[in-house]
Amino acid sequence: MKLKSLLVGLGLLAGMGTAYAEDDPFKVGFVYVGPVGDLGWSYEHDRGRKELEEYFGDKVETTYVENVPEGADAERVITQLAKAGNDLIFTTSFGFMNPTIKVAKRFPKVTFEHATGYKRAKNVGTYVLRTYEGRYVSGVAAGMLTETDTIGYIGSFPIPEVIRDIDSAFMGAKSVNPNVKMKIVWVNSWYDPGKETDAANALMDQGVDVLLQHTDSPAPLIAAEKRGARAVGQASDQSQFAPKAHIFSVRDDWAPYYISVVEAVMNGTYKPSDYWGGFQEDMLSLASINDNLPDDVRAKIDETYEKINSGEFHPFTGPITDNKGNVVVPEGHTLTDQELAQVNWYVEGITDEIPR
């Protein structure tokens, strides 16, 4: 019954007047949580999509749906992409996890890839960025540049990814400045220029002179520029918004992964996995490092980047103690990806509590 109605549906869709060439291209669908816009999370995924099209030319045809709410609508949009004949569908926000799993069950021949989630299935893989790598370098730069020994972090939601990055940034800062302190403000949003500006100003009012952000808008950079502070850009190259304040941007680059997955599915070699990409995989980069940085800071940024990029150094290598005195990473151990996915503690020295 289900299959039959599905076929009827597909027949209707095909009859819609969309004429396909004899040699059908491999169809890839993308679901974005935000509008594509000019920068940020969804923009970077779309940049990956465009590079994917460029790389494969006529062999691949892509479709995207932007601004999809993470409620009941996500499942419909993903289903419709599958119904429209897409062979591979990337769902690019955490809130799409359960809808992706549900749709994947009904379309076993379609491959699904979900960004930042933890549920996988026979035809569902997950992928995530090692943003903590960029965050560590940001922390190193912030620790050297701060004159008040106080850096600020604008958090989005207290989920493991964000907690992990706060830890990483703080460990980076501490490695170059033992006196450094960190103040954290949560804005409970991934993109809210108004709240991000308020948060940035509130932090600077408390003596913060270097801002790190886990949110998408350039608002904190703009606020920092106005008040002579410094800041690191997130997800996209944000140097244009703050020519003086901008230290560098940690830029996401999804294209290498998208190209490799499409290739694997086309060749029939695809296996769902939990993929982590960072500096080494060219999925994270330091964009537009500012020329106005002091030489020693610039040198330290390059050195730290190189150490992480070569695999010589991993920020989550023991011994690490949390801020309650428990040893969370014993000496000689480096957190595995599985362990990284569950970080829910602040490292020693962060005088704050994770909101519960």
């Binding site: 419909r76 992409l81 989920i159 493991p160």
Partner: protein, 355 residues
């Protein structure tokens, strides 16, 4: 010269002609818009307006979207009839989702037959309580209902976000802000073996009929209508404005709460930070498009559900950006409301007037 003149009574002809006029104007505008973007206008309009109803899956999805819109809009229609400017359906919906989830999560490992009824009841009561706050404030302190209901929308949203990051978070969820998945006993039964249309749309239709009967057949409905069109007359007739206000607000709050709990116990199946894409606000448009009549709300909620879905389909089928879709939808709503102007007013040439 042409000038605007108020009609002595509403034009029945224009009440029916206005939507037709609006749709014709929108089709003309849409054709120009899509042609300018090098998209086939006929195909674009087809995808936007007809494809959402093109197969069984899409129709079932249309009902999924229609349910919460209709539930909220029916309640709002009654409120607006009684001059209670309740802008708080969104908050009442979220309160219902939150209250219902708190109850549903008591039954995660249970298949008790009471799980679903108690969950629905918790949702309805939460929505009513959330509507009771601004009603109490208005009736006792004469606070502005529009402002209090809007503010309570945000409070409800942040309460929900707090709960899903805190007490209601899935203990096995790696700290991500989502509740555990509800047990099957807590989920609304699905009506077809394909698609996700669930009992919620039945609730919505039943309550639309109930509201219609209340308005047209009962003494209470008569009081609401009189109070709304001429408050002094209603008071002179001895109707209690307090009772009317309480009734419409609690009715609307309960229905919005039911809409909320039907989303989490329906297509979503768990509490997530995003429960509603703004159904409570869109329902205001639905209520007005339906001319504050429950039957009109049914037609209008179907219409808006189609528009929502058409927007996604236009992106999938034709690569039309969401901004363009939004522009088209905005223009359509604008024409619909603008053409209603001719129900109450007409254009006359001043020369005729003199003669």
């Amino acid at each position: 010269m042409i000038r605007v003149q108020a009609r002595t009574e509403q034009s029945t002809l224009m009440a029916f002609a206005s939507p037709v006029l609006a749709i014709v104007l929108t089709l003309i505008f849409g054709s120009i818009l899509f042609s300018a973007l090098d998209k086939d206008p006929v195909q674009a309009l087809h995808v936007l307006l007809i494809m959402p109803l093109s197969d069984a899956y899409n129709i079932s999805e249309m009902f999924v979207k229609m349910g919460p819109l209709l539930l909220c809009a029916v309640g709002l229609s009654l409120c607006y009839r009684a001059n209670m400017w309740n802008i708080g359906a969104e908050g009442q919906l979220l309160a219902g989702a939150l209250g219902g989830s708190a109850m549903a999560l008591q039954f995660v490992d249970s298949n008790s037959v009471f799980a679903l009824p108690l969950t629905l009841l918790a949702g309805v009561v939460s929505g009513m309580l959330w509507a009771a706050i601004p009603t109490f404030l208005k009736l006792n302190f004469n606070s502005n209902l529009i402002l209090t209901t809007i503010m309570l929308n945000y409070i409800a949203l942040y309460l929900l976000i707090w709960a899903v990051h805190g007490p209601l978070r899935d203990p096995q969820g790696f700290g991500f802000p989502e509740s555990a998945l509800f047990s099957d006993a807590t989920l609304l039964p699905v009506l077809t073996d394909q698609g996700r249309v669930h009992l919620g749309v039945v609730f919505a239709s039943v309550f639309a009929l109930v509201a219609w009967l209340i308005l047209s057949k009962t003494h209470l409905g008569f009081k609401i209508r009189v109070y709304g069109s001429d408050a002094p007359a209603a008071l002179y007739a001895g109707f209690s404005s307090k009772a009317i206000s309480w009734f419409v607000m609690l009715f609307a709050g309960g229905l919005a709460g039911l809409a909320g709990v039907s989303e989490v116990a329906g297509p979503i199946g768990q509490l997530t930070p995003v429960v509603s894409p703004g159904y409570g606000y869109a329902a205001i448009i639905v209520a007005y498009l339906g001319r504050l009549h429950p039957a009109g709300a049914i037609v209008a909620s179907i219409f808006l559900a189609i528009l929502y879905m058409g927007g996604d389909l236009a992106q999938i089928e034709m690569g039309i950006p969401i901004a363009v879709v939004g522009m088209f939808q905005g223009v359509l709503l604008f024409f619909l409301l603008a053409c209603d102007f001719f129900i109450r007013y007409r254009l006359v040439s001043t020369r005729d007037q003199v003669a």
